[in-house]
């Protein structure tokens, strides 16, 4: 890779990110953009994702990062990546790490998961050491190589990163256990000195993959690092390794060190202060004992965490006075465009919408129909007709209207297999098509000649009455001007002497329950004229439904114009479409059940009259 062994990350470091954690990946890319390098993440591993790539922002532009099913596959395609940022859960993080350690091109694995079993964590750590590789974590936010590479969420927001001078190298090498305090110390070092070269949070577990000393040794070798800051914790003995290394001369650069958890002595080891690894099993493991040992070894140990800023400032000023640390020219920082969602939340931007919805809302705890939660619809025993009222007309129907709609749906649900829509649905089902296609075939048959009479009847009867035509005038008008039979009038077999029972039911219901039935009354006058001509020219079921729907909407307070809009929008026809779909589905399921073969129409039922074309 051409980089010294003491450098884990530089401005050319490429990483594979395990787990499609969009936020963390975007934060890493934002960091890359801020420090003026190319994107550090070259691949994402997400075994359960079927997509091949994911889009991310790089500044204002969008880039595509490929997604792979396994680390091995990702590493084969991207041998330039030597870091795996392992964001797997505690259940899978171990296996992911072991897989990655076995990949020759991967040198460093950073693990965020908290709660990896200790035995497994210890195995990972030793395996990495055996292979001469690095593990950072588990249970850590990771770390930052200032101005070069950021692991996951380390350093927090971009604003904080710039304020804490994590976007360009300073002169301190930082190692902490805690991730939150890593951030805090970066900030303290930026305020009281010139920031860090590199900072690592080793994580709160008992067996971290790499510890304080591992990183201090790298810092000792790194000429950019002029002094080091170590933040330890009560519990464990890792800090003693640091003390011994200072004593033995392995570490010669100034080390400022402090172990938190001095409080523990007041509570006799009964209270767990801090992380899983942070419980003093013996006097040696107390924060006080470790602070003492570090001081004796030659580390600079403040009197308390409160004094950290001052001590860091002193060391920095001293090294500066000696000429070991120079001035840093602050780099230009390109602004990171604010995320749209965040800007909206903050009330900073606005955007016109492309769609409007006034009937339902799925954004809250529970979806609503016209403002009423679905659970309430169920609990308060809304009927299907009531739901139609809410979603089609944004109305809570009175009981008589709901009952009427319910009757309409029942009445139109089916009319046997021979009518064209049902026939088409059956033929399609026999061709082996799925339910959706068969149903669509049936529904697509509905139009002016099949099932369209409800709309037509409503339209013409309403028009005639509004214009004040008397029934005779209307019949003549339809014959002479529109030149069509009156929609809703006439039946194949039913007549005045043999009335249609469905029509009787609907009429009686309306008479008894509708506040008024003006258009029905008008249509019945028309019927008297037509049946006088021919017995079977009765107001049929479509006609009855059509005129009664007009009466219904008028009684619900709709104006004539509003009712015309409903008719033109297809709302009346919709009752037929919805009702008849029940029948179509019945026929389709019937065909599936019967498993009838492909239908072929018999030749003898077709008049063939085919001739050669005439020459043009």
């Amino acid at each position: 890779m051409g980089r010294p062994d003491y450098v884990l990350f530089d401005r050319n470091t490429k990483a594979i990110f395990w787990n499609l954690n969009r936020n963390a990946i975007q934060r890493m890319l934002d960091y890359d953009y801020t420090v003026g390098r190319t994107p550090s993440i070259v691949a994402i591993v997400a075994p359960t994702q079927n997509r091949k790539f994911e889009k991310f922002f790089f500044g204002t532009q969008e880039i595509m990062i490929p997604i792979y099913k396994s680390t091995v596959e990702a590493a084969e395609k991207h041998p330039e990546a030597d870091v795996l940022v392992n964001f797997a859960s505690f259940r899978t993080a171990y296996n992911v790490t072991i897989e990655a350690l076995n990949v020759p091109t991967i040198r460093t694995v950073a693990i965020t998961a908290e709660g990896i079993p200790e035995r497994l964590a210890r195995d990972m750590a030793h395996k990495a050491k055996q292979l001469g590789k690095w593990i950072i974590g588990p249970a850590t936010v990771g770390g930052i190589s200032a101005g070069a590479f950021r692991i996951g969420n380390a350093g927090g927001t971009i604003e904080n990163i710039v304020k804490s001078k994590l976007h360009r190298p300073g002169s301190c090498g930082l190692v902490t256990r805690s991730g939150g305090l890593f951030n805090e110390l970066s900030n303290i070092i930026a305020r009281n000195a010139d920031g860090i070269v590199e900072g690592i949070a080793i994580g709160g577990d008992r067996f971290p993959g790499s510890d304080f000393l591992d990183h201090l040794i790298r810092f000792q070798k790194n000429p950019q690092v002029k002094y080091m800051v170590v933040l330890g914790e009560v519990g464990g003995e890792l800090e003693y390794k640091v003390a011994e290394a200072i004593k033995s001369g392995l570490i010669t650069k100034p080390v400022i060190a402090w172990c938190i958890g001095t409080i523990a002595k007041h509570f006799g080891g009964e209270v767990q202060f801090g992380h899983a690894g942070a419980k003093a099993g013996a006097d040696r493991e107390t924060a006080d004992a470790k602070n003492r040992a570090l001081k004796e070894a030659g580390a600079i140990v403040p009197d308390s965490f409160n004094d950290f800023p001052e001590v860091i400032g002193e060391v920095y000023e001293d090294l500066k006075a000696k000429g070991e640390i120079g001035e840093i020219e602050e780099p230009e920082v390109p602004p990171i465009p604010e995320d749209y969602a965040k800007a909206v939340k903050a009330g900073k931007v606005r955007r016109p919408t492309n769609f409007i919805c006034t009937i339902s809302d799925d954004r809250g705890e529970e979806a609503t129909y016209c403002g009423i939660p679905i659970s309430e619809v169920v609990e308060k025993d809304y009927s299907i007709a009531d739901v139609i009222g809410l979603l089609w007309f944004k109305k809570k129907f009175p009981a008589w209207a709901s009952k009427f709609i319910d009757m309409v749906i029942k009445v139109v649900a089916d009319h046997g297999p021979a009518v064209s829509g049902a026939h088409n649905a059956k033929v399609t089902a026999r061709a082996g098509k799925d339910l959706m296609s068969c149903l669509a075939t049936g529904i697509l048959t509905i139009g002016p000649r099949f099932g369209g009479a409800i709309d037509g009847a409503a339209k013409y009867f309403k028009m005639a009455k509004e214009r004040g035509m008397d029934p005779y005038e209307f019949v003549d008008y339809m014959k002479n001007v529109e030149k069509i039979p009156i929609p809703g009038i006439g039946h194949r077999i039913k007549s005045t002497k043999n009335p249609d029972k469905r029509v009787e039911l609907l009429k009686n219901f309306a008479k008894e329950n509708f506040p008024s039935t003006e258009l029905l009354d008008y249509a019945l006058e028309v019927e008297k004229v037509t049946t006088a001509k021919k017995e079977n020219l009765i107001l049929n079921v479509d006609g009855t439904i059509g005129v009664l729907l007009v009466d219904m909407f008028r009684n619900l307070g709709y104006t004539d114009e509003e009712i015309d809009e409903l008719i033109n929008a297809g709302a009346f026809n919709a009752f037929f479409v919805l009702g008849r779909s029940i029948g179509f589905i019945g026929h389709i399921l019937d065909e599936k059940r019967l498993a009838m073969p492909l239908y072929r129409h018999p030749w003898d039922d077709i008049l063939y009259d085919v001739r050669r074309p005439e020459e043009a």
Binding site: N23, F90, R91, E114, G115, I116, P117, E118, R119, R122, D123, A125, H126, K127, Q130, V141, N153, G155, G156, T157, N160, T176, S178, G179, G180, L181, N183, E184, N187, I188, G204, D205, R206, F207, L231, E233, E237, I260, G261, T262, I263, H266, F267, G268, E270, V271, Q272, F273, G274, H275, A276, G277, A278, A287, D303, S304, F305, N306, P309, A346
Partner: protein, 433 residues
Amino acid sequence: MAQRGIREYDGKRILAEHWNKYFAPEFEYDFKSVLVTPQTDLDKLPEEYPWLKTLPLVAKPDMLFGKRGKLGLILFKKEKPCDVDYETAKEWIKKKMEEDVEIKGKKGKLTHFLIEPCVPHAQEDEYYVAMTLGQDGDHIFMSAFGGIDVEENWDKVREVVIPVLATDEEAEKLIEENVPEEIKDKERYADFVKRLYKFFKDMHFAYLEINPLVMVGNKIYPLDFVGRLDDTAQFLVGRKWGEIEFPAGFGGELTPEEKYIKEMDEKSGASLKLTILNPEGRIWTLVAGGGASVVYADTVADLGYVNELANYGEYSGNPSRAETREYVKTVLDLMTRKKDPQGRPKILIIGGAIANFTDVAKTFDGIIDAFKEYADKMKEVGVKIYVRRGGPNYEIGLARIKKAAEELGLPIEVYGPETHITAIVKKALTENP
């Protein structure tokens, strides 16, 4: 948490449940142990365990503390060893459950007991074996001199370290080579320890000690068993542990509030911890982050106010608004139960480092929700609030909490990342000594 102690009963139960896989048929273990809890009907117990009426018995508390023999808390004889019958054991347990006892400076009541058959044996059959999870490997301790005096005979204990990535064969060889000379049947002892080590590893024990381990021929009597499990391995081997309980140490029973937060923590992806140090204390903390929470506690102690520090705890890992609200309400409830006897204001430190990814505004909304519910009580006991926090959306969070507290009439001071993390502690304690 990670390593957690289990009852002697559970340790033996797990051992027995997996005996066939690890030890049989070469070794035999006749598992006969009964756990007595305050819910146990001692009169009916022999119906389920008839041997209680026929065998001589031993009874002892099973509550994680050791040295029970030296504390006089093992019942194994009336006049001579192994002459305790069930009636005697029953009465003894009943009596002991009533008494107040003090163990390692903690007062409390004995609630859980173990009853087992008394096993007469010779001192020379008492061995020792223990295993622990160490940084460099698993440490195995073996000795021919088990029993209550093992610590006095520690020089006779042989320690061997099994390196972390050692194979089974390497581990077995190391055990064999290190069995102490004084053990009579070295081969059989080594065989048992090898098997026990496999069990120890597979079950994710962090610590396992059998002392004394009585071995007569191929019959094994683990007279005492101390175990700690790594509870993070629950997802791997929880089923093998069976119904396991991780009791608090004697006298360390959780308060209802601590228990409530612990249960919430176990259900949540975030981290919520609460320990009540001194419910009468005047200084209460609501600190985000495991490291920061320690720093705040350290600082209170450094400034000489450790006796007034009421709680230790943390919330972190981006808890939801509702989780934060419940956490804060629990603390506020405790804090506002009584006024300070000297009439001084109570101090609420809302602290935290600069968060990496926790949404500060969101968690502060949860704190504000709790303020709204407790504002009257907070005013009654005179709570002063000091806030310091940084991280995602911290400006919004700080502005909102300031506004909300002021509207509720709660005195508040608010600081961001430009102020040192623990400066508010000094400020609060200087202003309200």
